[in-house]
């Protein structure tokens, strides 16, 4: 018995030495992995500060409100994308699903039935999410391939359904998310903003405080380990794609609130923009790490960069360069932190 206690103690001291090294709990890499949203938050605050100091028009309540409104759709798409990426997947079809959703909202509502249109759009977007989930879990195809195929198919369907033109939407139920009122005199608050915030809180709650959320992280972290601990891996994955589809339907609703016109050619880079927001927000493309607040911050970083650089009179192509560099830097940082901790 004494011998075993001695052994435990000596091994313990060896472990302490190990963990005080770079990769230990106190290390920078560890802190980054545990709180993946902290870095992006710092970057966002820094960007806001720099643009506020260097331009006269950026630090303006109206401008802030505009930035938020411009971010709504991509942030909502990125919320669904976050769920998929947390499971080590990727969703290339999210914006296409959303665009089909806007077409449904516009055309079904043409017969003066906006409520039916809403139900139809939500049902179809969720159904396409279920198709993605079924192809990933039943046919065992990589999410990249599944959603690449669906991107092409859904885009074509949306264009066929649109008959090649865009469809204006006028019913207040369908455009109402963009109709807000001024708070404190100048800050324009829309129902869409509150809805987006509510959805982020909702998904955060699911991820952080329910068993389902734990399982989403575990499936993305190590699917085999998740399976061996009794988690229904396929069921969890499927539910993620279904919930993402539902969120894309909300994004469609948001989009009509912003611009009351269903355009089959809109948001062609929406999928990549949403991935950008997720990645800049510190969620790992390898799955199992990250969260929704990082994504929200990531979406705002992109929007603030665009707005700030525009105010500073810098060409939009340079904005693309800045965004692209930020994506690469974010993933490089994630990789570095993971290597350090292993």
């Amino acid at each position: 018995m004494t011998a075993s206690v001695d052994r435990a103690e000596s091994a313990g001291s060896a472990d302490v030495t190990r963990s005080s090294a770079f990769g230990g709990p106190g290390g920078i890499a560890q802190r980054m992995l545990r709180h993946p949203a902290l870095g992006p938050l710092g970057a966002l605050l820094l960007a806001v500060l720099v643009f506020s100091l260097t331009t006269s028009t950026f630090a303006d309540v109206d401008n802030f409100s505009l930035v938020v409104q411009q971010t709504l759709v991509v942030a909502t798409l990125a919320l669904g994308q976050t769920l998929v990426i947390l499971t080590a997947g990727i969703d290339l079809a999210n914006a296409a699903i959303m665009v089909l959703g806007t077409m449904l909202l516009a055309r079904v509502a043409g017969g003066d039935s906006p409520l039916v249109a809403l139900v139809a759009a939500f049902a179809v977007c969720t159904l396409i999410g279920a198709v993605s989930g079924a192809l990933v879990t039943r046919v065992k195809l990589p999410p990249f391939i599944v959603t690449l195929g669906l991107l092409t198919v859904v885009t074509a369907i949306a264009r066929l359904y649109s008959t090649g033109t865009s469809w204006p939407v006028s019913h207040p139920l369908l455009t109402g998310l963009g109709k807000g009122s001024y708070l404190f005199g100048q800050f324009y608050v829309t129902p869409g903003m509150l809805l987006m915030l509510g959805m982020f809180v909702g998904v955060w709650y699911l991820l952080a405080h329910t068993a389902w959320g734990k399982h989403v992280y575990a499936v993305g972290d190590d699917p085999e380990a998740a399976r061996l601990t009794g988690i229904h891996v396929d069921r969890t994955l499927f539910s993620v794609y279904v919930l993402a589809g539902l969120i894309y339907a909300v994004a469609a609703w948001q989009a009509l609130g912003r611009i009351p016109n269903a355009d089959p050619n809109a948001f062609q880079n929406g999928n990549l923009d949403s991935i950008t927001a997720v990645v800049i927000g510190g969620t790992s493309l390898f799955g199992g790490r990250g969260g929704v607040w990082g994504t929200l911050i990531g979406a705002f970083i992109v929007a603030v960069l665009r707005s700030g650089l525009t105010q500073a009179g810098i060409d939009s192509l340079y904005q693309d360069i800045a965004t692209g560099a930020l994506v690469i830097a974010s993933v490089a940082l994630d990789q570095w932190a993971r290597r350090r901790s292993l």
């Binding site: 075993s4 052994r7 435990a8 000596s10 091994a11 313990g12 060896a14 472990d15 302490v16 190990r18 963990s19 990769g23 230990g24 709990p25 560890q30 992995l33 545990r34 709650y205 405080h209 329910t210 068993a211 389902w212 734990k214 399982h215 992280y217 575990a218 972290d221 190590d222 085999e224 380990a225 998740a226 061996l228 601990t229 009794g230 988690i231 199992g288 790490r289 901790s341 292993l342």
Partner: protein
Amino acid sequence: MSPAAQPGAGAGSGPGAGAGVGPGAGAAGSAVVPVMEARGLVKRYGRVTALAGADFELQPGEILAVIGDNGAGKSTLIKALSGALVPDEGEILLDGTPVRFHSPLDARRMGIETVYQTLAVAPAMDIASNLFLGREQRRSGVLGSVFRMLDHQAMRRAAQAQLDSLGVATVQSITQVVETLSGGQRQAVAVSRAAMFGRKLVIMDEPTAALGVKESGQVLDLIRSIRDRGLPVILISHNMPHVFEVADRIHVHRLGRRAAVVRPSDHRMSEVVALMTGALRLDENGELVDAEGHHHPDLEDMD
């Protein structure tokens, strides 16, 4: 321990040995109902027979090591016992009652926990989350039933109590992420989880294979403390010194069936290795004989 364990006359084999080797010898161990028993397990993969009528017996409160050369069918046996595969023939009994496992979950529901060689831990999650992974506890009341809210605090408390009771003192915090732990600490997390939820027995697959000397020692201590709590352990290991250090009995698997069950106190390591490779075998009286049937001098003769 039990009188049957000391048959005298230099037979030197435990109760299980007789059951596996000679017909009619099963009566020796019948005083105690085995926690787990398998009879005549057969598993074929095409033309390969991985299990050729394998028997198995785990007694209450013991550490039973399962050893065997590569390809002896050891891992197929363990998979059958843990529910990872369904044998073609034969039966498995738990506390004397026949059971059928169709998946590892079936086995787990009946109180059999397995510590896999890969550990099955989620590296990016903390220790407490890993202990309760797939078995999360919800809060009581409306928060739990309607809002499905997890009781993080209760799970952390229970996880801490579990590590403390098993003497795993080296981790700094229960909220430490598993990937920051050393190999031995990760193993300790996986073992603690099995001990926490195992009601009947714990199966451990090569728990010391990837560990250094000190950490192996810690894990062996852990295995002992699980046994001392009354939970029997099946230990699969290639490491003879470790097997001899902790095992109460050793099940030697060879050519798809049980070749012998011996007590480490009765035999030298080289003899057990010889049983494993087939250079020696146990005869009807439980005595070591070589391929020609000549008696092998055992420990008592050496003294």
